[in-house]
Amino acid sequence: MLDERIVLMLDENVVLRSINDKFWALDTRLGAQYKLNRVSFDILSCLDGKKTVSEVVNDASQLYNVSFDIFFDDACGLLKDAVEKKLVMEVKL
């Protein structure tokens, strides 16, 4: 499980893009492209390099008007996956 106290940010080479109902995370250096759903896109969009994982999940949960607890596990799973794929990196404070 991801430590909810850490701060994450998108890798500097990764951009998030959307057209209508299609969403992507795109690695501008290595070329990888990941299709996202809207929820994943919104969660990754909340990463600003300042907020903790807990704060990001809280922000995203409010977008969908669901409780933090219900949202937390799924959101953390997504973020963990994004870290493993090097789309997202931990900010060392």
Partner: protein, 338 residues
């Protein structure tokens, strides 16, 4: 051929040219050619992107005039060897092709077509655009190529000076047994300007005439009409011919690359997106605001937005940009009402 996994690159790998055509989108011709090692670096960037995207490349090599370059044949051989490249065209003015070139071209098994620019069906018109003697040389090149069974396409750039000569052009294409022809509107950039541009009504007349002519033709050449505006020549809303009308691939499956590695959405849409050698293709393709704007059809303005023919047209973004300064504006040469 399924084109859903194909990407088109129009690669202007040099700027040098032996002609100075009146409507050329290029204004400078004196740049030194890129060192061949650098040219290969560009090719490798293209191939890297195709591999990553699991796509296959169709490449048009052009300039300038590609046949003035000593790099042309080594580059052709390099591309020909790569499995990700499935088709190569050469876009040329046709004035420099020799019998020796034909022998070398025959060895490039992925060579699809040689496209020769012919801006008139008569020497008078063509030479007025491209210079004295250019017509005769181009016709000789067509005969050399067709005589050796190499596919030839002709490109006619529609503008004021030749607006009454397109039927003669089609006559020549038929007589010379070329494989395909394209008639494309001039874009007022480079040496061309607004005085060269035809009105929407003039384009309507020309496209309608050509459609009638195409309907009477059973053999070669194919008249390429899977391009913006042509769908409007159909008299009702029923699209009965899949070869008529087409959404421009700019921003979706196409890019243009200039002699110094500068990348444009299309050669005629002169908005630099980056440099393939410095930025790589991924950064350009994934991060360009211009490309993302173009990709979203909802961003189209004016009558292009919501047009009943949008799925098969979308207008020409280059013409819109050159005439209005806004690449998302409606196509100024479209004759459709609201």
């Amino acid at each position: 051929m399924d084109r859903s996994n194909q990407f088109y690159f129009q690669w202007h790998f040099l700027s040098k040219c032996n002609l100075r055509c009146k409507h050329c989108y290029q204004e400078e011709y004196a740049h030194d050619e890129m060192d061949f090692n650098k040219i290969i670096q560009v090719a490798d960037q293209i191939i890297l992107a195709l591999e990553k995207w699991n796509m296959y490349g169709r490449i048009s090599l052009t300039g300038g005039e590609p046949f003035v370059s000593s790099s042309l044949f080594p580059l052709l051989e390099y591309l020909n060897e790569n499995d990700r490249i499935i088709s190569i065209d050469i876009l040329t003015n046709g004035t420099l092709i020799t019998e020796g070139d034909i022998l070398k071209l025959k060895k490039i098994n992925k060579l699809h077509q040689i496209q020769i620019s012919l801006d008139g069906g008569t020497a008078e018109i063509h030479d007025a655009v491209r210079g004295k003697g250019a017509f005769e040389k181009a016709i000789n090149a067509i005969r050399l190529l067709r005589g050796d069974d190499i596919e030839v396409a002709l490109m006619f750039t529609l503008m004021k000076i030749n607006q009454n000569n397109y039927m003669k052009f089609i006559d020549v294409a038929e007589t010379e047994n070329v494989n395909a022809i394209t008639l494309e509107r001039v874009t007022p950039c480079g040496n061309s300007n607004l005085d060269d541009v035809l009105t929407a009504e003039e384009i309507k007349t020309i496209y309608t005439d050509i459609t009638l002519r195409a309907n009477e033709m059973n053999q070669l050449p194919v008249i390429r009409r899977a391009r913006p505006l042509w769908i409007n020549t159909l008299c009702d809303n029923t699209r009965t011919d899949a070869n008529i009308g087409g959404f421009c691939p700019v921003g979706l499956t196409a890019l243009a690359i200039l002699w110094d590695g500068t990348v444009l959405p299309c050669r005629r849409l002169e908005i630099p997106l980056g440099n393939i050698l410095n930025d790589g293709l991924f950064k350009i393709w994934y991060d360009s605001e211009v490309l993302w704007n173009i990709r979203n059809k909802n961003n189209l303005k004016g009558k292009c937005n919501g047009c009943r023919n949008l799925a098969y047209c979308g207008g020409c973004r280059a013409v819109a940009y050159a005439i209005t300064g806004d690449y998302m504006e409606e196509d100024p040469q479209c004759w459709m009402k609201e």
